[in-house]
Symmetry: C2
Subunit: 228 residues, 2 copies
């Protein structure tokens, strides 16, 4: 972290006045890169520009990351891994598929809103379709498969939307949350929209909301206990 303090930043006009917010240099680089990728595109962003935005030397950036690809991969992975990590626990504690779907959407939206908001828009960037980002794409497919399995159990018989389509509808609705107008309890609103798309409304939706909350409470409780 030595490159953040002392003389290295003296006289640098772009320096943002130190990481008083408690972010690590690594996280500052990720945040600056995410902002630049969104503003200018991945191809047009140089590691020099990222280092400048953070207020460090380019050489210092390479101390933390091998290059731009590694930064993007970490940003992409951070947008799916936290959700994947809790998927099994979430499904095993849910009273039914509708409750599991509600909880999954809320958790997944929470994962995305906790990181830089422009990341899902990068999923469709040409570079992300290259073999070097296959690890991320495999994780995203894994998450998509969970949505597909859940909606299959959630949608009532005769619902006019195919389960395959519904799984992708839910995944995409979650991923576009950052572009929605700000609203109270946005994750819960997106979850209700997903359940509605699956044909769950009214009293059934209210039951799914309650089920989803119970799952999230159950997930939070042991984790909190484990911190003692």
């Amino acid at each position: 972290m030595s490159e953040r303090g002392g003389t290295g930043r003296v006289g640098r006009p772009r320096s943002r006045g130190a990481a008083d917010d408690g972010r690590t240099p690594r996280q500052e680089i990720l945040d600056a890169a995410a902002a630049l990728f969104s503003e200018s595109g991945f191809a047009a962003t140089s590691t020099r520009a990222i280092a400048d935005r953070v207020g460090i030397r380019q050489a210092s950036l390479y101390h933390h990351f091998a290059g731009k690809d590694e930064i993007l991969l970490e940003l992409l992975e951070a947008s799916v891994r936290p959700t994947l990590d809790v998927v099994d626990a979430l499904r095993s504690r849910a009273p039914d598929a509708a409750g599991a779907l509600h909880a999954l959407v809320v958790v997944d939206v929470g994962t995305l809103l906790a990181g830089p908001l422009g990341i899902p828009a990068l999923y469709v960037a040409p570079e992300v379709q290259q073999p070097r980002f296959e690890q991320f794409r495999a994780h995203r497919r894994q998450l998509g498969a969970v949505y597909a399995e859940l909606v299959r159990d959630v949608a009532p018989a005769g619902h006019p939307v195919d389960a395959d389509v519904l799984g992708q509808v839910c995944l995409h609705l979650v991923e576009m949350t950052a572009s929605l107008p700000s609203a109270p309890q946005l994750p819960e609103q997106v979850a209700a929209a997903c359940l509605g798309a699956c044909g769950v409304t009214g009293d059934q939706l209210a039951a799914a909301v309650a089920g989803g909350r119970a799952v999230r409470d159950a997930l939070a409780a042991p984790a909190a206990a484990g911190r003692h």
Copy 2:
């Protein structure tokens, strides 16, 4: 169109064997550009690469378009204008807001599926946020406002998703149709998913489907008559 025939293409290995499919040179350029923008990104695509893909000289491309920006603007506009052109007629003929929303989604998805499938993914590209594409963004906002007005009338009282959020949910679901798995009557499935997100399912959804079909039939009839 002279650049498409004769000696201009002799010896060019990328030449695709002429526009036997009846596309105009202008349309061939648009299609080639759309494919390259999706594969490589807008910034990384040159007018030379577009001309090469079509099998024409770069100078010939400039006979049809002032440059890359004009090509992208036309692609973007073609993805919203045909829907905007029928919005007023569609709303005035719909039995109710649910029928109008169903018809609008089916028409809008039809507009997008009739053009190059990668266009909506370009909406989030950094370049498209520049002032020179404001005309397109204004048209897209106009379309978004129609969705917002319709969902306000469609969602039942007490629905847990705000109308502002629902309007954007519908717009985004329509725009991501090309990334959905192929399915029979995909436009109708997306319309049903949108109505479900708004809290319309079961018998009400069936009524909206019937209403939407009636609107589309009514729109098609005078247009066909006008061709005599």
